[in-house]
Every structure is written in C-alpha cells, then in structure tokens.
C-alpha cells in the first residue's frame, strides 16, 4: 500500500497487474473525507442509543437535568425500580409469549407459502402474489375496527392467540415474499433430484430445501419476532386489560401528557432493546442475502 502515490492515476490501468486497479485506492484527503463521513454517520446512528444507556444509569431523578453530563453518580436504581416496582415483568412475559408464537407460526407459514409460489405455477398463483403485496398496504385504520369486532365476537380480545393471529397477517405476507426470493435462488435440480429419489413434494421441501434456506429462515424469524415485539397499535386496542398488556402498550404509562418518568422509561427501553439487538446482530449477516438473494439474481 505504501507504494501507492496519492493523486497519480494512470489513464489506462496497467495491463499486467490487478494490484494496479484504481478502485479502492485513494489519496489521503479522499480517505479522510470517506472516514470522516462514515464516522459522522456512525455518530448519528449510535448517539441516541448511547444517550439512552447513559440516562438509564443516572440516579432516580438524574434525567431531570438540563446540563450536558455523561455521568452523574451512576447507579442501577432505575433498573431496580422497573423490575420490582412496576408491571414491567408481566408486560415482558406477555411480549415474549406473543412474539415467540408469532415467530414460530409465521416462519412455518411463510416458508410453505414462499416455496409454493417459488416452485409451482398453479391456478391462483398470480392472485396469491397480489394478495401478498396488497396485504402489505393495509392501513391499520381500516382493519382495526372490524378486526376488533371480529375478535370481540370470537372472544379473542385480551387473548394472546388473538394478537398473534393479528400479527401474522402483518408478518407472513412479507416473510413469504422474502422466502420466495430465497427459494428462487436455490437450484431446481435439487427438487428434481428429491422427486426422482421418491420424495413427495412436501418431503423435498422439508428435507432438502428448508435446510438450505436456513439464512432466509433466520431473517424471517427475526422479522416476525420484531413485528410482534415492536407493535403498538393492535396491542393498544386488543389488549386493554392491565395484566395482558405488552411492552409497547405498557411503556406508554411511563410517559404521559403531563407527567413522565424518563428514568423508568430509559431503563425499560434498554431492557427491551438489548435482547432484540443481540438477536439482530446474530442474524444481520444473513439479512443481506435473505432480503436480496432472489431480487438480485440475474
């Protein structure tokens, strides 16, 4: 790298060496600019999260400060209050159950649907494709009233299954779409080999294709989980009972119109974000392939 002279760019790359490629080689000022821009972007993307963590570690009324101070007698007071003095553990449990069920069922349904629309051209194929796209567009507003009435009629208000089913209608179409893209990138010869060896179409799907689609399954699982974990509107309306609330609904109690306890809020926000972030960072490598595998296939 030291042999690279800043600013001199041969008009025609030397025919001998790949090392002479100009792409990726930069002058010093260009490097500074590049790293400067990236650092600025990183600063903006990370600062709110760091500030959240710092605030949560301040003592009880530490957030009531108009000064810029990073630390001020750091303590875990807020965390103790959230975990012992509020309904937070109940909300957390509800959220975990709802999100877990949504994930398991969502992944299963999205993968079978995705496989079917990737491999088979069956009557109704276009209809299903359209349905998957159009359900993406459904505003909460139009569905929420009739869905509320439907849930009330079926006795599913304040019930975990009701909320899970509602979330599946949000998560499954998009996940099925992603799975289809990924299945498209798996060679059809594998399916044919499975059929020749005497497997049923379902056997082929279950034993051969699904294991190959693991990255996409991870992404789908993650997306379903996050849909349920971070949803507010349905949960606000469907889960009105105190002990049935999920995190998104419960947290609103800490921040009112006239009174807010940002100490409680920041501590619970950290508790909610940390597990989600860990899972996210584990699957993030697959996110690129999962999202774009089929779309970028030439």
């Amino acid at each position: 790298m030291s042999s690279v002279t800043a600013g001199t760019r041969p008009a025609v790359p030397a025919p001998t060496g790949r090392r002479a490629r100009r792409r990726g080689e930069r002058g010093v000022s260009a490097s500074i600019l590049l790293h400067g821009t990236l650092l600025l972007a990183v600063g903006i993307s990370v600062f709110p999260i760091i500030w959240l963590v710092l605030t949560s570690l301040k003592p009880r009324d530490g957030w009531l400060s108009s000064e810029l101070e990073l630390f001020n007698q750091p303590s875990l007071d807020n965390y103790v209050r959230v975990l012992t003095g509020t309904q937070f553990p109940t909300w957390l449990l509800n959220s975990v159950i709802v999100a877990g069920l949504t994930t398991v069922l969502g992944v299963f349904l999205a993968s079978t649907t995705g496989y079917a629309i990737s491999r088979f051209r069956f009557p109704g194929y276009r209809g299903v494709m359209w349905m998957l796209l159009i359900t993406q567009m459904f505003p909460v507003a139009i569905l929420i009233v009739p869905l509320y009435n439907l849930m009330a009629g079926l006795g599913l208000l304040n019930q975990v299954p009701g909320l899970v089913i509602a979330y599946m209608t949000v998560a499954v179409p998009f996940c099925a779409w992603m799975m289809k893209s990924y299945f498209d990138s798996i060679p059809r010869e594998i399916d044919q080999a499975g059929l020749v060896d005497g497997l049923t179409p379902f056997g082929t799907f279950w034993r051969l294709i699904l294991p190959l689609a693991r990255p996409s399954l991870a992404v789908t699982a993650f997306y379903s989980f996050m849909t349920a974990w971070g949803e507010v509107a349905y949960a606000t309306v469907f889960m009105s009972q105190e002990e049935k609330r999920t995190l998104g609904v419960g947290l609103q109690q800490f921040v009112g119109q006239h009174w807010s306890d940002w100490g409680l809020l920041t501590a619970s926000a950290v508790l909610i974000a940390v597990p989600a972030a860990i899972v996210f960072l584990l699957v993030q490598r697959h996110l690129v392939t999962g999202l774009t595998a089929g779309a970028t296939k030439s």
């Binding site: 709110p48 079978t112 079917a116 194929y125 049923t200 774009t292």
Partner: protein
C-alpha cells in the same frame, strides 16, 4: 397422492373435497377442476393456510370495513353485548355520505398533503442516504465491518423504543439536543411544540430508523454486481460518474424498485413514530392519514364509520400507487 403425508392431505381436504363433489356431479369424465386439483393440490395445500387466514382476518374485516364506511356507525349506535344484554345495532346505511364529507373537507386535503410530503421526504432521504452509505461501505475501507455494524444498529431497536428515545432527546427542558444548543450558547428550541419543527423532528426520527434497512438492501445489490463490468468500463476509460450512472444504478434497479415500493408503503402507514412522539400534535399538525383514522376510531366518541371511510381512501391511494408503479416496472421488463 398415494405418497402424501398425513398433515399435508389434512390441509388440502377442503380443496380435494370440492374436487370430489365436482366429479360426483359431472359423471365419469374428470372435470377440469378435478384435473387441476390433482395436478396442483400440493401447491394449493402449501398456500392454503395463509390464504385462509388472510381471507378470514383481512378479507372479512375489509368487507365489513367497506360496509361500515357506508353507514353512520359510531360508538353510540353500534351493537354491543354487555354481560347478558345484547344491544342491537341502530346505525343506518348512508351511502357515500362519509366519503363526500371527507373529500370535501379541508382537513383531508391538508392531511393528504402532509402525508405525501412525509412519505416523499422520508423515502427520498432513506434511499439517498442508504445508497450513499452503501457505496462507501462497498469500497475497500479500513474498519468496514465495524462501520457496518454500528450503522445498522438503529434497525435493531424496536420501533416504539426508538420513538421513546427520540421523544426524550427532543424534550424541551431535559433533552440532550437542547442541552447541546445551550452549551453552544444558543437558546433552547421547543422541538415538538412548533408545527413546522415537529414535522422536521418526526421526519428526522423516521429517517434515522429507516436508513439501515435501505443501506443493507442496497449493499446486497451492490455486491451482486459483477466486478468485471467495472473493470471493463475502466478499460474503456469510463469516469467514476459514468461507471455509477451506467453500471451501478442499472445493476441496483431490481433491488431499488422493490425496497422503494415497500418503503413507500411502510412510510405512508408509519404509525408508531408519529403516534408515540408527537401524538399527532401540536394540534393535529403532524397527524398523517393513518394516525388520524386511528384517532377517529379510538378516541373520544368512537366514530367507526368515518374511520373506516378514511381507511378505505388510504387503501385506494396505495393500491393505485402500487398498480402504477408495477406497470412502470413491467414496461422496463421486470415481471413478478
């Protein structure tokens, strides 16, 4: 069929039952429906659960929502069950009255304008910043994976948590943004108290939340463009701009068209950011169509019919958008 697994045939029973009865009526010759069923039953079986659940939970509410939008249903006259008492509905069919009322109100056009501004601004910034960052990360640059990891971090935070974080950052008295302004010798700003500032503020939050997704998607697209194309272009003496214009952008088109459409739909219907940060305020200046419709249905006197009519209008807008968008894609040779 003989090889079918128990679970699989269980889910197709409805479909094959239909086929049986079709044959029963039609005589010995297998009808077209039966032939289609025997050829495609496994495909139908695999999509059946999704189609059924969607039909029940979206189709039925949709139909009912459309019906409600043609009535004058509110909390006061809709049927309820209180304990053992069943109170019948007394609302009436009023035709297109709700729609006429909405479309002739200044409020609707005001909200629509703001929703469009919000969507266009957010998606343009999402895509522009996402593309810029992806291009930078696609180069050979030191600490690339560290940069990437830190840049996608906002994506890892659940939406409602992000909304609360930002609400705290924007706080006039205790928020860090104003603290910084004060430290710099400037006066504090009521970020969420002024209609224009509040709009800028919610757009900023949504951009912060949405850029990582675009960045990752575009990065995936960039990595799938064969490097030979760039080498060939360089041999031909193409400038960096020309390489970007004629190789990168066309190479990204499939990914871009998908994520821009999805991004548009998501942003148009973005509920938590606005609902949790400003609550639509001050006044109703940051209320987009979706949050407004939600408020109609679930605050003060619940106006179900009006809310449903707003919802139908929102849906129609998006369907038109998707159809136009898809048609323009098809002209360019994209088919799905």
């Amino acid at each position: 069929m003989a090889l079918s697994t128990g679970r699989a045939s269980g889910t197709t029973r409805d479909l094959t039952a239909g086929a049986e009865s079709a044959r029963g009526r039609g005589g010995r010759e297998p009808g077209p429906f039966r032939r289609a069923a025997s050829r495609h039953w496994y495909a139908w079986a695999m999509v059946a659960p999704v189609v059924l659940v969607t039909a029940l939970l979206i189709g039925w509410p949709l139909a009912r929502g459309v019906y409600l939008s043609l009535t004058d249903a509110t909390e006061a006259n809709i049927g309820r069950t209180i304990g053992v008492n069943v109170i019948p509905s007394t609302y009436e069919f009023v035709g297109l009255e709700n729609y006429v009322g909405i479309l002739t109100s200044g409020l609707f056009w005001e909200k629509l304008t703001w929703t469009v501004v919000w969507t266009v601004a957010c998606v343009a910034l999402h895509y522009g910043l996402g593309l810029g960052l992806a291009l930078m990360l696609n180069r050979r640059v030191a600490f690339r994976s560290a940069y990437r990891l830190l840049l996608i971090l906002p994506w890892a935070i659940p939406g409602f948590v992000s909304a609360f974080i930002w609400r705290y950052l924007y706080n006039s008295d205790f928020g860090v943004i104003n603290a910084m302004l004060r430290a710099a010798g400037l006066g504090p700003v009521g970020w969420l108290d002024d209609p224009t500032l509040a709009k800028v503020a919610v757009i900023a939050v949504n951009v912060w939340m949405g850029v990582p997704f675009m960045m990752v998607a575009v990065l995936g697209g960039l990595q799938s463009i064969p490097g030979e194309l760039y080498e060939a272009a360089e041999v031909d003496g193409a400038t960096p701009w020309q390489r970007f214009r004629f190789i990168t952008l066309p190479g990204l088109r499939t990914v871009s068209s998908t994520v821009v459409l999805l991004g548009t739909i998501w942003t148009f219907n973005m509920f938590p950011v606005i609902y949790l940060i400003t609550g639509g305020g001050p006044g109703s200046s940051t209320e987009i169509l979706v949050t407004y419709a939600f408020r109609e249905a679930f605050t003060s006197v619940r106006n179900y019919s009006n809310s449903a009519a707003w919802g139908v209008i929102i849906l129609l807008l998006l369907v038109v958008l998707a159809v136009v968008y898809r048609r323009s894609l098809r002209k360019q040779g994209e088919v799905w």
